[in-house]
């Protein structure tokens, strides 16, 4: 029942052909696709970094990589996966789907949206180019002071300080955009408690980012100033305190991990009902637990610092807070199982990944609870046990959730379906490979193997499981190859499907596949949670779903269109402003090189100024609403 009524007047229709149309696009769908493709590329980059790490660690006393190369590899692996993969994949889904899910025609600030994307892309390119231009960051993704401020002969950690700073600005822009969009641009009748869970999780993650990124911004500026301007924020010899960095980092870092998992939880909260043919069990509980996680997430940061010597009172407080946050995080699992219970389950690829998400997140969540037992954590922290924990929640959790989302929404983006055969091979190989890689790491950690070590000696019993983990890693790599092949093949010649191939529940499935630039010819009026489902199905006396009679609808079903639909015009200023900002960043990275750095900085300022003023002065086409 897709909307196919003709549109009277579309106003200015931007060209959709050619590279320039992509560079100047402000269409949330195109921006979403660009985020997704970029993230996939960096997933491969981060994966190759991981494979090199695993190759080195497959045997004891390995000499394949030097310590220096290894340190850069594991640092970049962490930075790449967090900032260049998981966050942009979430952004891809959020960008593409949020307006469609709430019945809007674009986000609140389309040019800011484009700016955030280009800033992200140019910043990660700059960060990645560090390998060829001065050396990559090598202080671990957490960049602990005062190691990160100790060696200023290399610019490696300046790339880190500036690169992460720029990425933070991009995310703050996106987050403000999503909050403004979701708060003010929902279709008529869509109250907050009728929004899809994925949209709700986007609200929570946006608030988490808005409030946590500025804190690490301060920490990063302090690191940069210590390295380049002689300040002594983290200089113990001058009465500075290296622990200040840890606090600032983790006040950002802990909410950040919820930013990394909540979107995937939102996706799974959508796919499970569709493929169980039942509503989400306990929608309100799921939403409120997401909000609770958002609040509580700001109160547990020092559980990353249980061995830092904060004293037993602080450690006890944060330990208890960490146990508390396990409750809202964990009960969602029961809600998801409750959704499946009594349903009619279609075990296709998106559903397999959703179920895999639940199964793996249980393990990662439970190992997290073992961390909350503070004295036990003093054996687990900084060992392979914690590496196992966070890969179970970030890979087994977030990545599996994103795979579910990819298989689920691919038909909406392309009008074609991904191959089920390849999909199932992808799932099973990834599932087996993932568990083979990270399951044994629990054992390695408990048996005393620390993390961030470029080699380990014989005789400690670590060789066997390290070898197994390496085999698992290559298995994962092969499964990702299958995924990429699936995407390419299906985009070219996949089976074509209509707008609602899954008989789904939320508004995006009312739009065409792929949607027109204006998303909906007519904006639907919302009277229910899972509004689309309720336009197709009622319930019988036993509460079972029954199809509604043909032509039945609650009137008025759509907002009457009074004029033409005006979409925002494309613009090149966001890209220019982003380029200027990144050039400024590059200038700062090379500040210690004298004229080179200052020169690049000045050029960057000029370009940024051109971009920002042009953007401000640009005549505003009426924003879509």
């Amino acid at each position: 029942m897709a909307i196919t009524a003709p549109v009277e007047d579309l106003g200015y229709t931007p060209s959709t052909k050619g590279v320039w149309s992509w560079l100047t696009t402000v269409d949330h769908k195109r921006i979403g696709l660009m985020y997704g493709v970029s993230a996939l590329v960096f997933f491969v980059v981060g994966g190759l970094e991981a494979l090199m790490i695993r190759t080195q660690l497959a045997s004891a006393d390995s000499t394949i990589l030097t310590a220096d190369a290894y340190n850069q590899l594991f640092t970049m692996h962490g930075i790449t996966m967090v900032f260049a993969v998981i966050m942009p994949v979430a952004a891809a889904f959020q960008n593409y789907m949020i307006p469609l899910q709430i019945g809007a025609r674009d986000v609140a600030f389309p040019r800011l949206n484009a700016f955030s994307f280009w800033l992200f892309l140019f910043a990660v390119i700059m960060l990645s180019s560090s390998f060829f231009l001065g050396g990559s960051p090598d202080g671990a993704w957490v960049g602990y002071a005062n190691l990160s401020t100790e060696v200023t002969e290399f610019v490696r950690m300046d790339y880190y300080a500036i690169g992460v700073q720029l990425l933070g600005i991009a995310s703050i822009g996106s987050s403000a955009n999503f909050i403004a969009t979701i708060f003010t641009m929902r279709a008529p009748g869509m109250t907050m408690m009728k929004m899809p869970v994925f949209t709700w999780m986007t609200v929570v993650t946006s608030f988490l980012l808005i409030l946590s990124l500025p804190v690490i911004a301060v920490g990063l500026w302090q690191m940069f100033f210590d390295r380049n301007f002689g300040t002594v924020f983290y200089e113990a010899q001058a009465a500075g305190d290296p622990l200040l960095w840890q606090h600032l980092f983790w006040i950002f870092g802990h909410p950040e991990v919820y930013v990394l998992i909540l979107p995937a939880m939102g996706i799974v909260s959508e796919t499970l009902p569709v493929f169980s043919r039942k509503p989400l069990f306990g929608y309100q509980f799921v939403v409120f637990s997401g909000i609770a996680i958002g609040f509580l997430g700001f109160g547990v940061w020092a559980h990353h610092m249980f061995t830092a010597g904060m004293g037993p009172v602080a450690e006890a407080g944060f330990g208890l807070a960490t146990m508390l946050i396990a409750v809202p995080t964990g009960v969602k699992i029961f809600n998801w199982i409750g959704t499946m219970w009594g349903g009619k389950l279609t075990l296709n690829t998106p559903m397999l990944f959703s179920i895999g998400f639940i199964a793996m997140f249980i393990i990662g969540g439970l190992s997290g609870v073992t961390h909350a037992a503070v004295p036990a954590d003093t054996q687990q922290h900084d060992s392979y046990y914690v590496v196992a924990h966070f890969h179970y929640v970030l890979f087994g959790g977030s990545v599996f959730g994103f795979m579910a989302g990819a298989y689920y929404w691919f038909p909406k983006w392309t009008g074609k379906i991904l191959s089920e055969t390849l999909g199932k091979w992808h799932f099973w190989l990834m599932f087996i490979g993932f568990n083979l890689t990270f399951g044994p790491m629990h054992i390695l950690g408990l048996n005393g193997m620390p993390r961030r070590t470029y080699r380990y000696p014989e005789g400690f019993g670590w060789e066997f499981w390290n070898g197994m983990a390496t085999i698992g890693a290559f298995t994962i790599a092969f499964s990702i190859l299958l995924f990429i092949i699936n995407i390419v093949k299906s985009t070219r010649s996949g089976t074509e499907v209509g707008p609602d191939p899954w008989d789904a529940r939320t508004l995006e499935w009312m739009a065409a596949s792929p949607p027109a630039i204006h998303n909906f010819d007519q904006v639907p009026i919302v009277r229910h949670l899972d509004e689309w489902w309720h336009r197709k199905y009622g319930v019988d006396e036993e509460g079972r779903a029954v199809p509604l009679p043909e032509g039945y609808s609650e009137e008025p079903a759509f907002v009457p269109e009074t004029g033409g639909i005006h979409m925002p015009s494309p613009s090149y200023y966001p890209m220019i402003a982003a380029a200027g900002l990144v050039a400024m960043g590059a200038g700062l990275v090379f500040w210690s090189s004298g004229f080179l750095g200052v020169g690049i900085l000045v050029v960057g300022v000029a370009i940024a100024f051109w971009g920002l003023v042009g953007w401000a002065a640009e005549p505003i086409t009426r924003e879509a609403h």
């Binding site: 310590a67 340190n71 090598d138 671990a140 005062n146 100790e150 113990a236 010899q237 500075g240 290296p242 169980s276 043919r277 509503p279 306990g282 509980f285 061995t307 830092a308 010597g309 006890a316 330990g319 208890l320 146990m323 396990a326 409750v327 009960v331 699992i333 029961f334 809600n335 499946m340 009594g342 009619k344 389950l345 279609t346 075990l347 249980i362 393990i363 439970l366 190992s367 609870v369 073992t370 037992a373 004295p375 003093t378 054996q379 922290h381 900084d382 599932f431 568990n435 629990h442 054992i443 408990l446 048996n447 005393g448 993390r451 470029y454 380990y456 400690f460 509460g543 079972r544 029954v546």
Partner: protein, 355 residues
């Protein structure tokens, strides 16, 4: 099937391990306390795991769509408040069961030791461990100082008081205690009461906070001695090293005073009386010959390895001595001084003689 595999992994893990650096192999009262807490949490976690994964697996199999399915659509259940409240409270109660022993163990391990206890001052350096016993003094009042290899008496509590000379490290000997970071500008503490039954064992440990190039190679070895053996070791350690008068070791001493003492120190039986010679930037070498390992337990202390270490230090562990800065105190490794084979042999003879 996969559930069984995972369970097998878990059970393999929770079995006691006799691996040398395993935390599942507690050899002190404190490590034992941690292990008991860990086992409680682990068993509860496994129980939750089995129940929840089983529910998931049952749901998948029971409610999957069959091929020739003509059953009606499922009931559109929106939730069940009573159930949801119940399954929020039960995990909360389980957490209370974990919280109580957690807090007890936490405060117990954090409390200062009572009665007589041995004190050791630990200083982390890039990339070696400095140990000083402030209560074990020689005739001149100088405390026992050594590096990388620690001796502790069994059955008695030792308190490590720790800090760092440069960046953050972490002291971790899993069979003896949980780790604790060593932070410049701060003091942190670990209590260790080794089991009496473990006398004679040497327990390995290593740095657990990334500290750059040789983080993986900043290791330690803890010797658990009977009280008598500990006393004997301490008495020997307090003796000054003799200055050799002839043979290659005598030439080695010349090299030591000219080059090595720029960073290293030794407590020497000089003609005028015992004195400390050299700098405390690098490990104390007074009794280097009696240490079983070198380079912070990267290699066994043999003639061949010692030769390699002096000849080409960066072939043993990665360092960056070209970045050493004596003004700021940033020391990042032992340089290669380009000594020839004969000079190295002389130094080796000297150091091997300093037992």
């Amino acid at each position: 099937m996969l559930v069984v595999l995972v369970l097998a992994l878990l059970l393999a893990a929770c079995a006691t391990s006799d691996l040398p650096q395993s935390s599942l192999n507690p050899k002190s009262a404190e490590a034992q306390q941690i292990d008991e807490l860990w086992r409680l949490v682990l068993y509860l976690a496994i129980a939750v795991f089995v129940v929840v994964e089983a529910a998931l697996v049952i749901a998948i199999f029971w409610f999957r769509k069959r091929k020739d399915d003509d059953k009606p659509e499922p009931k559109q259940t929106h939730g069940n408040t009573a159930l949801e409240i119940t399954w929020s409270i039960i995990p909360a109660l389980i957490l209370v069961v974990i919280a109580v022993p957690t807090l007890q163990t936490l405060f117990d391990l954090a409390s200062p030791p009572e009665g007589n206890f041995v004190r050791v001052n630990v200083t982390g350096h890039q990339w070696w461990w400095e140990f000083e016993y402030p209560d074990i003094l020689d005739a001149n009042g100088r405390p026992l100082t050594t590096a990388n290899e620690l001796h502790l008496p069994v059955g008695v509590t030792t308190e490590l008081k720790m800090t760092s000379a440069d960046v953050i490290h972490s002291f971790w000997v899993p069979p003896l205690a949980g780790k604790r970071d060593v932070v410049p500008g701060h003091f942190t503490f670990i209590k260790i009461t080794p089991d009496v039954s473990r006398a004679g064992e040497a327990i390995p440990g290593q740095c657990a906070e990334f500290c750059w190039l040789s983080h993986a190679d900043m290791r330690t070895l803890v010797f658990l001695d009977t009280e008598a053996d500990f006393q004997a070791w301490a008495d020997r350690q307090l003796q000054p090293a003799t200055i050799p008068t002839d043979g290659p070791a005598a030439s080695g001493f010349e090299i030591f005073t000219a080059i090595c003492s720029t960073c290293h120190q030794a407590f020497i039986a000089a003609p005028e009386g015992p004195e400390v010679f050299g700098e405390a930037i690098a490990p104390d070498l007074t009794h280097f010959g009696s240490r079983t390992t070198l380079g912070a337990r990267v290699l066994d202390n043999t003639t061949e390895h010692l030769t390699q270490w002096i000849d080409n230090p960066e072939s043993v562990k990665p360092m960056a001595p070209e970045l050493n800065n004596f003004d700021t105190g940033r020391i990042l490794g032992m340089p290669d001084y380009g000594l020839d084979a004969e000079e190295i042999a002389e130094l080796v003879a000297l150091l091997e003689g300093w037992k």
